[in-house]
Point group: C2
Chain length 196, copies 2
């Protein structure tokens, strides 16, 4: 039996917070395999936005999984719950007037589509299509090596699926570009103008 709930109307509104920051906050969500460059590129794009005067924040699989989602593992149900919670936190940041970058594998199409439905034009989903073989070579967290040695299971791209994506807005392969080049390219895509 749950208590009835309703939303309070507080004196300071999301619109007032956004106006104070002189920005229309939005979400930039990176999806792709481990090692595809999500966190690196999100960090570099955040730096570019910060230098331009945006108020920003970065949520990624590592800092969220160490804190808020520290109770979750890598089962399909926990992966879905991970993305659900991050989507809700991203919503809170939008309400706070902050542009938020999210870097999560986000392997299931259903969750990606739910994000699009929830946020509409306020979210851009960027799929890093870096080939699996390069991700394995980079292996920034040693996950692929651990999987090879049988130490872990459920690694996306190997024994866990990365579902085909139809809901992403931008595809980018980080094989042959630097993080800075990638960030500048995305900035142009997002704002329709070159970054000088």
């Amino acid at each position: 039996m749950k208590h009835p709930l309703f939303s309070h109307h507080h004196p300071v509104t999301p619109e007032m917070r956004a106006a104070r920051n002189r920005q229309k906050p939005f979400i930039i969500w990176f999806t792709g395999l481990s090692g595809s460059g999500k966190s690196t590129l999100a960090g570099q794009l955040e730096l570019l936005l910060h230098e331009k005067g945006f108020r920003t924040f970065l949520l990624d699989g590592d800092n969220v999984r160490l804190g808020l989602n520290g109770d979750l593992g890598l089962s399909p149900a926990d992966r879905r719950e991970n993305i659900r919670r991050v989507g809700e936190v991203a919503k809170l940041f939008l309400d706070a007037g902050i542009t938020v970058l999210c870097a999560f594998i986000t392997p299931y199409e259903k969750e990606r589509r739910a994000l699009k439905e929830k946020f509409g034009e306020r979210i851009t989903i960027i799929h890093l299509t870096t080939p699996l073989e390069l991700c394995r070579q980079r292996d920034p967290k040693g996950l692929y090596a651990d999987w090879q040695k049988g130490r872990i299971k459920g690694l996306t791209g190997l024994d866990a699926p990365f579902e085909h994506s139809e809901s992403t807005d931008v595809q980018l392969d980080t094989s042959t570009i630097t993080a800075d080049e990638g960030a500048r390219s995305l900035f142009e895509r997002l704002f329709g103008q070159p970054h000088c």
Copy 2:
């Protein structure tokens, strides 16, 4: 079996975000019974801070329980998880350079103490000591009436405990003051100067 995790170091740091906002972000956490005035007072204090130029956000039991914590009920375990998650989200807002006001019953001393240990000088816990009888008269959400009619169970102060508090920094009884008076009084307590 979980994957190893580590924190990324991103180019934009919490210090850079706070500096951009020209503030040292902190947490103001309201604890007390339903109807004690937590959300109202938090909203009014946020308005005062906003008018002073602070970058702020307000988390409360209602807007968080409708979203992020929509999967949680009112069992002791769920109440603890509710507070744990909000603490983690508040941490993210600090890292984003935002001063965050939290309005949650927070009935258990263990969780209040955990917040003090986690945030140290960056949190002020304010206990609204408004008497139960007045909270029942106000009954802004109709919870006390529902409880009386047997429609709900586990209402803090009646058949669920509000544990004695030793970890709170400020006690305030909202019986005889307006929200604006309460907010101004708290501002003085927090900043050691009258609000002109």
